[in-house]
């Protein structure tokens, strides 16, 4: 097969957290679906769970090749030169090992107490102010930003600056190409400044570890060092910050599941996994190029052809999940692919899990009767961004008398 008559993709503008029904038809009838993303050449879209894992995990699919091509993408910006998504193993492994230890489950567990302190302080402030509160600005954003700033060693006071830059980088349509390139430049200059600072005053934060890996062991280049800092900062907060309100919104729409969770907060870790499966955060993955012919369930991808996957569609694959459109917090089926698969499987997955667990349990424990302050119509959904989520979410709760 060759990629002809591609469908424009994404199929539709994101509609809150609903999945376009076309994904289901395509997963069943057109497992290799020709699509045209807003930028780059036409690609195959892959939606079946096993196929998605093959594309993301099999070494016959390459990210490095994408850098040499006009890769299909939802955003204009292609990422900073030297960022970890530009490499295949073994080059990718060299970079990933510089930071991997900081993100193991064991190391992340050590950060849980601190994340809980931050979450409690934010909720203290919400309670002191009294309802209603904007869950996004009062809680969902500052929690992951504070955690990633402390881990990386980025001053929290600078957050308004890097948040603007990061918004621009994540934007699909909200910023012009010139603005996006300018923001990318400013963000990497900012990171380069922090790196220079570490050289003068060594620190034992992650940026310090990265600088030592470069200066003492020559394990990465200066470009790779800066791109890694930017990548961790950007990827480390926008996704988690979007998922906290997405999860709360989803639970409010499923009152029975919410009641179950309230009655037994020990279910929170399982609930986070099911919500990760259920909530379609992004529209498509970064593209992979086949470096040889590969047979997927729906046909052969030829060497040189690009493929994008929908992890959201894979997470609703009926051959893997029974009644996938049902939210079932105690579901015990296959693992979701919301953090990807294979060598690029989310570096921050354990951190994100821990933050999402802390966020949900803290909100449910400390804000009894948590619900929307207004109506559905008052919610402001993000537009023109690669990740779905709420710009603003006013909530209320039963304040203690």
């Amino acid at each position: 097969m060759t990629i002809t008559d591609p469908h424009p993709f994404p199929f539709s503008e994101p509609d809150e957290l609903r999945i376009d029904p076309r994904f289901e038809q395509i997963r069943e009838k057109e497992p290799l679906c020709p699509v045209q993303l807003p930028h780059g050449e036409p690609a195959w879209l892959v939606t079946r769970y096993e196929d998605v894992k093959t594309v993301l995990g099999d070494p016959r699919f390459s990210r490095a090749e994408a850098v040499r091509r006009d890769e299909p993408r939802t955003r204009y910006h292609r990422g900073l030169p030297g960022n970890i998504m530009e490499f295949d193993p073994p080059e990718h492994t060299r970079l990933r090992r510089v930071v991997a230890k900081a993100f193991t489950a064991r190391h992340v567990e050590d950060l849980r107490v601190r994340a809980q302190e931050i979450a409690d302080r934010l909720v203290d402030e919400m309670i002191a102010q009294g309802p209603p509160a904007d869950l996004v600005s009062a809680f969902a954003l500052p929690l992951p930003v504070t955690v990633i700033c402390e881990l990386l060693g980025v001053p929290f006071e600078d957050r308004t600056r890097f948040r603007h830059w990061s918004d621009a980088l994540l934007s699909t349509t909200r910023f012009s190409p010139e603005e996006i390139e300018r923001c990318a430049g400013e963000l990497s200059d900012y990171m380069a400044g922090l790196v220079a600072e570490r050289r003068k005053h060594p620190q034992d934060d992650l940026l310090g570890v990265m600088v030592a890996a470069r200066d003492e062991q020559d394990r990465l280049t200066e470009d790779e060092l800066v791109a890694m800092g930017v990548g961790v900062l950007v990827a480390g907060h926008e996704t988690t910050a979007s998922q906290i309100p997405n999860f709360v919104h989803t639970l409010l729409e499923h009152p029975e599941e919410l009641a179950r969770l309230r009655a037994d907060l020990d279910l929170v870790p399982q609930a986070v996994e099911e919500l990760m499966r259920f909530v379609p955060l992004g529209s498509a993955s970064t593209a992979r190029y086949a470096v040889e012919d590969v047979e997927l369930s729906g046909g052969v991808v030829h060497a040189g052809e690009p493929v994008v996957v929908s992890t959201a569609a894979a997470n609703r694959d009926t051959t893997v999940f029974t009644c996938p459109e049902r939210l079932d917090l105690t579901r015990k089926e296959a693992a979701h692919v919301g953090f990807g698969h294979g060598p690029h499987h989310c570096l921050g997955a354990q951190l994100a899990r821990m933050e999402l667990q802390v966020a949900l349990s803290t909100l449910l424990r400390r804000l009894p009767g948590l619900r929307l302050a207004g109506t559905e119509e008052d919610l402001v959904w993000k537009a023109g961004s690669g990740v779905r989520g709420l710009e603003k979410m006013l909530i209320t709760w039963e304040a203690a008398a």
Partner: protein, 92 residues
């Protein structure tokens, strides 16, 4: 953090000894099936039904096995000396 300056356990045979063999294990309870190991060392790990399996329990010393063990976010892979049982990776 670094693997480059990993200390060689005292009990290990002299470097370059031809007979040196490593043992590779995956703890199925810890493994979450991320597929990272199989991406790093496709000849040495396969993920089936959401769990990684070493393709061979005993392997000659090679960097890719250490890389896989050091890249596993759950530290589910253990690489030891077959004869002495000394831990090669991951770093504790």
């Amino acid at each position: 953090m670094s693997g480059a300056d990993r200390e060689v356990p005292a009990a290990s045979p002299a470097p370059g000894t031809r007979t040196e063999i490593w043992r590779v294990r995956v703890d199925p309870k810890a493994c979450m099936g991320t597929g990272i190991c199989a991406g790093v060392a496709p000849d040495r790990f396969q993920v089936r039904d959401g769990i990684s399996h070493p393709t061979a329990a005993y392997v000659p010393p090679e960097d890719q096995v250490v890389d896989a063990a050091e890249s596993c976010p759950l530290e589910a892979i253990r690489v030891t000396h077959r004869d002495t049982g000394a831990l090669i990776a991951p770093e504790e």
